[in-house]
Symmetry: C2
Subunit: 662 residues, 2 copies
Amino acid sequence: MNEALQTSNLQDCSVEHLHALSQQRLAIEGVNIEIDGGRFAAKAVAGQPLTIEADIFSDGHDLLSAAVRYRMRGGDWKEAPFRFVENDRWRVDVTFERPGDGEVEIIAWRDVFGTWQKDVGRKIAAGQDVAVEIAEARLLVEAASQGGGQTKELHAALVHAEGLELLEILRSPRARMAMAAGGPRTDLTPYARRLAVQVDRSLAAFGAWYELMPRSQAEVPGQHGTFNDVIARLPYVRDLGFDILYLTPIHPIGRTNRKGRNNSLAASPGDPGSPYAIGSEDGGHDAVHPQLGTLDDFRKLVEEAQAVGLEIALDFAIQCSPDHPWIAEHPEWFDWRPDGTIKFAENPPKKYEDIVNVHFYGSSNPSLWLALRDVVLFWVAQGVRIFRVDNPHTKPFPFWEWLIAEVRQVDPDVIFLSEAFTRPKVMKRLAKLGFAQSYSYFTWRNTKVELQDYLEELNDEDTRLVMRPNFFANTPDINPRFLQTAGRPGFRARLVLAATLTGNYGIYSGFELCEAAAVAGKEEYLDSEKYEIRHWDFDRPGHIKDDIRLINRLRRDHPALGPLGQLSFLNFWNDEVIYYARQEPDSASYLLFHVLLDPHNAQEGDFEVPLWEFGQPDDGSVMVEDLLHGNSFTWHGKTHRLRLDPHTRPYAIWRLHMEGRS
Amino acid sequence: MNEALQTSNLQDCSVEHLHALSQQRLAIEGVNIEIDGGRFAAKAVAGQPLTIEADIFSDGHDLLSAAVRYRMRGGDWKEAPFRFVENDRWRVDVTFERPGDGEVEIIAWRDVFGTWQKDVGRKIAAGQDVAVEIAEARLLVEAASQGGGQTKELHAALVHAEGLELLEILRSPRARMAMAAGGPRTDLTPYARRLAVQVDRSLAAFGAWYELMPRSQAEVPGQHGTFNDVIARLPYVRDLGFDILYLTPIHPIGRTNRKGRNNSLAASPGDPGSPYAIGSEDGGHDAVHPQLGTLDDFRKLVEEAQAVGLEIALDFAIQCSPDHPWIAEHPEWFDWRPDGTIKFAENPPKKYEDIVNVHFYGSSNPSLWLALRDVVLFWVAQGVRIFRVDNPHTKPFPFWEWLIAEVRQVDPDVIFLSEAFTRPKVMKRLAKLGFAQSYSYFTWRNTKVELQDYLEELNDEDTRLVMRPNFFANTPDINPRFLQTAGRPGFRARLVLAATLTGNYGIYSGFELCEAAAVAGKEEYLDSEKYEIRHWDFDRPGHIKDDIRLINRLRRDHPALGPLGQLSFLNFWNDEVIYYARQEPDSASYLLFHVLLDPHNAQEGDFEVPLWEFGQPDDGSVMVEDLLHGNSFTWHGKTHRLRLDPHTRPYAIWRLHMEGRS
């Protein structure tokens, strides 16, 4: 070693570095809930299991143990053991009981005593002498027994034992358990990062939304609706089975450059303007539009809704009308042009002259940020816990990350829904920043391949752990081209798809009436409520309220459709019929859906009954309940044929069950 | 804001946090070279481009710019601009010129002036007045001109311009370039992590290995070979076209419990023992086995090899024979049993009584770690730059991470090859720790599906950026079952596959003779050189040296087979023939390979000529050169038929070219 030894000092920090590094003997990697290297939190739901997985391994062939430590931030740690799955993958389910900010740590260690048991078993089987091995195990137990408890009892038992009895004790499950509980955690290795988990309440992951414009809810046509009129609509919305009633903005509407009917540039006298042009002499984001009522009326609406089991969601739209009080009070929050005029919103060459945007940097930081946070907290103080955020992708990402964290500090029950029909990576980033739900591309996915590919993408673990899609079937901004020509069969099909492919879905008032009158060539509603007051007859012929009631009831009654329900697509040999299963693992809840994608023609084809899910051979059978008609029967064999008709049967829903399957 | 304002102080650190967070306005994520959240370095090759990709986007619709900053650790930063690809993905190639530790940072910012040019163009096209926009642009340029340079010149040009001329200057590419170079980087956002890149020399990514046992190289049968005998073999190895000559351990061999021929437990007198039982009274890991020669002889071998264009690779096997000097000098580095005996290596119930293992923790840390590092540095000092590491997966991961980093500090040209035929995640972890090359499962991948799936896995970006497989076709430990019965056609096929599917490959001496005599029922060689001295006739009939020469020449001559050559599998409608292309992008180098997987029967089938790669329609044509026979001709049309025969033509290699394709 003569020459070599001279190099021992080549790095001053070498030995310290070596010591620090050598603590990490086990490898922990590929942690499924680590989002972007720990930059963002994974999402979980209070009271529901979060499955955590990691690759855990070490050098050599020793047995390992691993555990997850978890808590709500600032609380006490709990520990749960990982179980080995395969190929160095380990898994554990943990449940956070309340919404808030969860934290997770992972630890792993070498199970020296378990390894001893494994090795000594093999040696005995091979007829080898294990006298020295017994001596080694005694030393392990003796050292562990200093800590008291089970290991002390184990050690005491060893002291008086001899020969075969000694070996029997050492090889017993009891000894293994005692040493696992009280023995040393050799080479204990913590995972390098503590991981954050955003724990939301269950409504963040599973809810049915109904959207309406309050001013269109008057009983008398032509009158401006009020909060009291919305209160009168609550039984209707609840009867349809919805969980959330979402109101478009309720704030004073600007007069300068007000938009007229059908988005015309000049309003006529009496035109109410777009509720998204927020702010007038009557106030801004913390005021209510006087024609809707008072703040007290609004609070009453929140209470009445709660009384019938509905929650009110508000729209959080940051733009201002040119009449917003902030423009005079805080000119430094807006962009001013060299000619002294205020900069209107634009997407060149389009101009939006009824709206000005705040800017978020320079003189607006932090005063505007704090003010906007306080707007949200103001409505939280009025009892609102759900906010649909308008166009979040045009406001800075750091703003949302900060705002959502601040609001969740005050009330972790608050849910933010991101309205961002934008580029997929932007949509996902907003979810990572803390939005509990995200608008999605569902609205434009119509064919079987499109739907299946999109659902696969959404259910990919990387996406699933951060983004919860909300399948809105229509919105005030989107009158989908498909529905414009699909008629009632198309509405029924899209309802079933929206409500059963994922946990959150919504419809915008009028959907239940199959309303689809469009501005020619556009995805806009004709005579849109965005620019005028409408009045609807919610009993008009051709409605699909029975379908909505049925589907929302199934969502509540069947765990397969609940937050833990898993989706899988099955074979139907006709691309105009989509066919899928929802099931809750480890339960008897198993549903099948056939939905007709062609709204004009009947379609039929063969399909596979998933007998394999019930442990049945291809010529086996399974009991079926038709959830639309209530009759029950048995499917024998794997292949069956079905015909769906747009007018009589655009979809079918089946519950499969077998005696003995639990 | 009355009630809400009271909440403004709810978090003391709120405003500071807001300020820090708001600096990160742009999103930078999905960085391809970030390994495990930045925990490990990505791998690159000196002098060859490393492609870096990231998702980069911001709120809103402004144009963005982004750049990578890179350097060797401690050196000066260089900057290279990212270019936009699609779907918010950006890409840039950077080249590190020398081996060592590279570092990469990513920055992005809003391109305010570029956005102005884009928007004003749209407004002019829509016939809108842009007088105020011009005033805005003048302000941007004026502010930028304070920095001097091109922006100052631009500003000077504006001062004297008016009307259309002014607009023309502002909209010019020259203005864009001046503002890009000298204008502000608005909302400059650095990626949160500085990323490490392990820059290796090119031999780490592309080399052909020949492995031999020095003691079997004597000219006279029965004699113990010497380093001088190995020197005499250098022209042979070089003539075959190899780059690296790898020697099994050259150290003194222990006598206690020495293994006999064919791994028998008791050696007969005169049995040389396994070279992996390292250490005797003649020395340990820094000594040479006296029968091989002296350290001076070894240094001469290193020099002579270098003179003919070969590099010597040594085996680094940490285990010790019971006679290793360390056992007396450093008993604290070994495991001792309660009965006072040393603990032999074992994998219960198997025992390896000619070997004891060091342990790495407790009393061995750090003294053993430093000693082992110094063993490597000792051989580096003798001119060795390549180490094949025996069984690295049974030594702690932190040890390798530390040792490789230490050695690379002294000489970044040193290459470590990880011999770990182990679980896939363990194999990959070792690569992440710094091993430049890794043994692979190629040795056991025989069918078309197995080979294609495995290559796809290896070429997946997550793997490709950290692990460079070395396709050894055989080793002293592995006499593959396929080759035991495949005969000469099988050896020829496996040679072509090993040498052309990836950058690094190797054969162990005897492969060129189609040597496959096995211990019955095992993957062991009969009369293995591991336990006895062998003597080979390297001209014996049935050798495949011509194939080896050809393939190694093609590897050197054709960039498509080089480190930048890409692999893709093509359609051949017979599963007994594997058919693939190698190409170097942006070059004329395009090769096709047909390899017969069935060593016993002729096979034929139709295959697709990749005319699309040459911009040709299905009925187009491409020029072809048969690289085995030298003749050239033209393939017309997309589908052709080929027959391969195990005895006359077990593989075919074609070069495709077209005039005009560069």
